[in-house]
């Protein structure tokens, strides 16, 4: 009968305890390896979550954006902007699109009483709010009547409200935008997302709060310095149908520009997939780097175990003399190695978790080691113990007891 597992663990622990310094040196590599696995996996996990959060904040995965490709120079001088007619044509060709919104952008001066503010303005249609999943906090957004009637109305961002009105209620008030009088009909909801790792600005979405919106028709007819539609956004019915819709849009737009890729058509769903894949590659690379450090740790352990066995040759001889079987010796040393790596794994997990809290604070990304990550880290360290412990354990169990007893 092989001595019970519990007994092996007790023997293993007392061996480790009686050689504390060596145990500590032995497990250092495993601690560092496990720690880096925990940090890397959790970090990649956190970044992925943050990316998704960003995508969702920017209108979700069903959103498709068509914008000018600034890197492409058309040899035949194909138009780099859309006309409203083209937008209407495209809309009629893609019934799969739930919403569609062309955008004209400009950078203008706003004034109210003595206050002035320079900021971006967007000429939009009513679908804008639905596509961006961004509504007003107060008042109302641009509606169909505003579009039809070329209404002189404006919906302002919270930053603009703050700069022009301070604590005053802006709804119904008239401001001057690019020299023309427009009435404030709504204030957009304040946008906020904690900025990851950036210096200075805490809000990753603060640029959205600086925007104002007026009806597209008003912008085109009355002019605010720019009436070119160089981008538009589309929303599919759901994220899964977005890639197909993107392909269809691409074909239509390419056709409109005689096969020239003047525009880039990007689906948030596909972007998210791409990012996920890139992050997976990074995860694998970082994991491999951690694995190499674990491997080095494993080689160190194997080396130390071989030295330990050499040093304890006489002990092995004594144990065999008093009745230990080959298996007892084998398991004694294997379990000891596994205990070392398990211990290293546990310390590594805790160190990793405490490092995560610092990294999390620094990068402002919510980072935590989930059960799966911890399981991977522990499994890898214990597995390493088995692999690096098996050869020394076999060597120990095959020692000749007579020679072992003579060993000085």
């Amino acid at each position: 009968m092989v001595i019970p597992f519990k007994e092996s663990i007790i023997v293993g622990f007392s061996d480790l305890w009686s050689r504390k310094i060596r145990t500590l040196v032995t497990i250092t590599g495993i601690i560092l390896g496990t720690m880096s696995i925990i940090v890397v996996l959790s970090l990649m996990n956190g970044i992925q979550k943050k990316t998704m959060e960003w995508m969702m904040e920017r209108g979700g995965l069903a959103k498709i954006t068509v914008r000018r490709d600034w890197n492409y120079e058309s040899p035949t001088n194909e138009p780099k902007v859309f006309t409203l007619r083209e937008i209407n044509l495209i809309k009629s060709l893609v019934p799969e699109a739930k919403y569609m919104n062309p955008v004209i952008r400009a950078y203008i001066k706003y004034s109210y009483k003595k206050n002035n503010y320079w900021g971006p303005v967007r000429g939009v249609l009513t679908d804008f709010s639905a596509i961006e999943e961004w509504d007003v906090e107060k008042g109302r957004f641009i509606n169909e009547i505003d579009i039809r009637e070329y209404s002189d109305v404006i919906v302002i961002g919270t930053k603009v409200k703050e700069e022009l009105f301070g604590n005053e209620d802006p709804i119904g008030k008239w401001i001057t935008a690019h020299g023309k009088r427009v009435q404030v009909i709504g204030i957009m909801k304040h946008r906020f997302m904690e900025n990851s790792g950036a210096v200075g600005n805490d809000n990753a979405l603060s640029y959205l709060n600086r925007r104002c919106f007026i009806p597209l028709s008003t912008m085109v007819r009355k002019g605010t310095g720019n009436d070119e539609i160089n981008s538009f956004t589309v929303k599919a019915y759901d994220a899964n149908s977005a890639p197909d819709l993107r392909e269809k849009l691409e074909a239509i737009i390419l056709n409109l520009r005689h096969g020239e890729p003047v525009f880039r058509i990007e689906s948030a769903q596909e972007e998210a997939e791409k990012m996920k894949q890139q992050q997976l590659i990074f995860t694998i690379i970082f994991f491999l780097i951690s694995a190499i450090s674990m491997l080095v740790g494993g080689i160190v352990i194997m080396n130390i175990m071989l030295a330990t066995i050499k040093e304890r040759t006489r002990e092995i001889g004594i144990r065999i003399t008093v009745g230990a079987k080959r298996n007892d010796i084998f398991f004694q040393f294997l379990i000891q190695t596994i205990l070392i790596t398990f211990l290293g794994g546990i310390v590594g997990v805790f160190s990793g978790i405490s490092i995560l809290s610092y990294v999390s604070e620094y990068l402002k990304i919510e980072l935590f080691a989930n059960a799966f990550t911890i399981l991977i880290a522990i499994t890898v360290s214990v597995g390493l113990g088995m692999v690096s412990g098996i050869i020394p354990a076999i060597m120990a169990s095959r020692l000749n007891p007579v020679e072992a007893l003579r060993y000085e």
Partner: protein, 225 residues
């Protein structure tokens, strides 16, 4: 008959040279005997003891232990025999320095599969029988040579084996301690243990029922009383 050997030969390979440690040993030992094996250094007496203790195997010849041919016994059973049937006492004590006295004595019991509580109980009792009850938690380095050898004897007898093999048990001790150890062996002999002592010391050999002289791997005085 507890031990009987038939023409045991043991050769060692040292580089390209084959050295014959035992060149045909025939011995018979009865149950309850106290036998001394004597001989000069390199005569092969320790080799014989290792073979008798199932730690080594002969190159040729037969060894019967309790009428069973040892070469036909499986390794796991041999471990069990070393654990239950044979107790070893060495000149250099061979205690584990990082374990305390109790744990050293408990070792054979652990390999017998006894629980911790039972082991502790037996170990205490046996340690009492060699007069060291108060040293249970001490490390071997905290004991004198004579005390260490008493601990080694306690470990050898803790599983109540029928045979005790002692290799120069008094070789590292002063006369007083040596005599103490010999009297313990005498007591064990009286209790019915079969004891085989390998020794240089005539005083030790005189305590034996029988002396076997080995020179150059051969028995010199025959296998007689």
């Amino acid at each position: 008959m507890i031990i009987s050997t038939g023409n045991i030969i043991k050769n060692y390979k040292m580089g390209k040279v084959i050295v014959s440690a035992l060149r045909g040993i025939d011995i018979e030992i009865q149950k309850g005997e106290l036998v001394a094996i004597m001989g000069p250094s390199g005569s092969g007496k320790s080799t014989l003891m290792h073979i008798l203790g199932c730690l080594d195997t002969p190159t040729a010849g037969k060894y019967f232990l309790n009428n069973e041919e040892v070469s036909k016994i499986k390794k796991a059973k041999l471990a069990k025999i070393r654990n239950k049937e044979i107790g070893f006492v060495f000149q250099t004590f061979n205690l584990l320095p990082h374990l305390n006295i109790q744990k050293n004595i408990e070792m054979p019991l652990m390999y017998s599969g006894l629980s911790g509580r039972k082991r502790a109980k037996i170990a205490k009792k046996v340690l009492g029988s060699v007069g060291l009850s108060d040293r249970l938690k001490h490390k071997p380095s905290e004991l004198s040579g004579g005390q260490r050898q008493r601990v080694a004897i306690a470990r050898a007898i803790v599983n109540n084996p029928s045979i005790i093999l002692a290799d120069e048990p008094t070789g590292n001790l002063d006369t007083t301690s040596g005599n103490d150890i010999l009297s313990i062996f005498s007591d064990l002999h009286t209790q019915g243990h079969t004891i085989i002592i390998v020794t240089h010391d005539q005083a030790v050999a005189k305590k034996a029922n029988r002396i076997i002289h080995i020179v150059d791997g051969l028995i010199q005085n025959g296998n007689t009383l």
